[in-house]
Amino acid sequence: MAYQEALRGYGRPINELRLRLGFPPTVLSESRERILPVRTGFGLVTRDDLENVLLCASEQSVYSVSETMREGFLTLPGGHRIGICGTLALRDGETVSVRDVSSLCIRVSGEPSIRTEHLLERLTEPTLILGPPGSGKTTLLRACIRLLSDAGRRVSLADDRGEVAACWHGVPQRNVGMHTDVLTGGRKMQSVLWLLRTMNPEWIAVDEITAPGDLESMETCSYCGVRLLATAHASGTAELNSRPLYKRLLALQLFHQVFVLDETKQFYVERMD
């Protein structure tokens, strides 16, 4: 509650609230991290503060969010997210939970603006969105999904990290259109095949191709006549060719066009024929 009051009294737009054990809370605002003013009535962040934030965020039900906590984040109503840092508890090499939580990063949800004129007209073929980190790949993907969906296309979204739709209790907190089915919580490969089997989609969207398994599931989709929409970390098609995973992606010819984003969040279209 003290944090809420302090944040309400803070005069600038806030992107993140950071709580680090033993240090004063800070806010990221206008690209700068600043200490939340002391006049708000609380000093250093304690372990109890961190645990209480997590308990509140999970509605006092840590078990119900254990899957995403294992991945290091929690989604809140409104699409806000809490990133968790601490000591990972491992079993058989797999993360089972996070203990001794030492920092939390509460990211305030906001829809960055992106130009979507004529975007729908271009979405007729399987499309890959490329761009460096922070260039707006996920935002553009979400915009594409929303446009397709609102135009009446059946879109299925495999949102394994919950960044695209930011579902909370199964309800997307971000606008992904009215004809979009969102599957969260699973691994990308399983989710894609699940959606293919169960939802009869026209389009399947995934955020960030990172593993060979992702390619296999997408290859299966392409044989079933489903169009793909995905993002990948690369600054352009040339960089795709320099990475083994993406080289295979190109060889499979799963995508017919690429939207390449630059750091100014503008994109241009490239054919992959």
């Binding site: 509605e59 006092q60 840590v62 078990y63 209790h169």
Partner: protein, 171 residues
């Protein structure tokens, strides 16, 4: 005439008290049964659906149309209104506000202990804590049921006899 009427009233009142005690024992046994059922349901929900506690309490309040249901309904509304309140505190407050609950202090203690674990651990931890609470409550119910008939009859007989004895003394 009035004297006889008064005597009848004394016997009836005394018997009423005895029957009231007997009824509260039957009610306690029934409520304990409902609570055990609710915990079983809670365990399944957590194990198979990982339902968060506010939603779970809402479901339990609808599933049990009795004092136990009311208790969980109060828990749900408490949790919704104050998301920072720990579960043992929520259980305690709801218990105090739920006047129709007639369970023993041991049952209350078992619930408060369960509240210490609820929500804080993973699914396995939750299930183990609920199982433990269920076992304790079952043992309590067995003890209660073993003596229930004898105790109920005893209270009823004492009520009637005390009324009659008072009537004889007055006569």
């Amino acid at each position: 005439m009035f004297k006889w009427l008064g005597l009848i009233c004394i016997v009836a009142a005394s018997s009423g008290v005895g029957f009231g005690y007997a009824r509260s024992i039957r009610r306690q046994s029934a409520q304990l049964g409902h609570l055990i059922d609710s915990l079983g349901y809670m365990r399944s929900e957590i194990l198979y659906r990982m339902t968060p506690l506010p939603e779970l309490f809402e479901t339990l309040s609808g599933a049990e149309n009795n004092a136990v249901g009311l208790f969980f309904s109060l828990c749900a509304s408490q949790l919704r209104s104050d998301r920072t309140m720990p579960i043992p505190g929520i259980f305690k407050k709801s218990w105090e506000n739920c006047r129709t609950v007639c369970l023993s202090p041991e049952t209350k203690q078992t619930l408060l202990s369960l509240g210490m674990a609820l929500g804080r651990f993973d699914v396995d931890g939750q299930c183990r804590a609920i199982e433990l609470a269920e076992q304790k409550l079952r043992r309590e119910q067995e003890t209660l049921d073993k003596n229930k008939r004898a105790r109920c009859r005893g209270y009823e007989a004492i009520g009637i006899c005390a009324g009659l004895a008072a009537a004889i003394v007055i006569l």
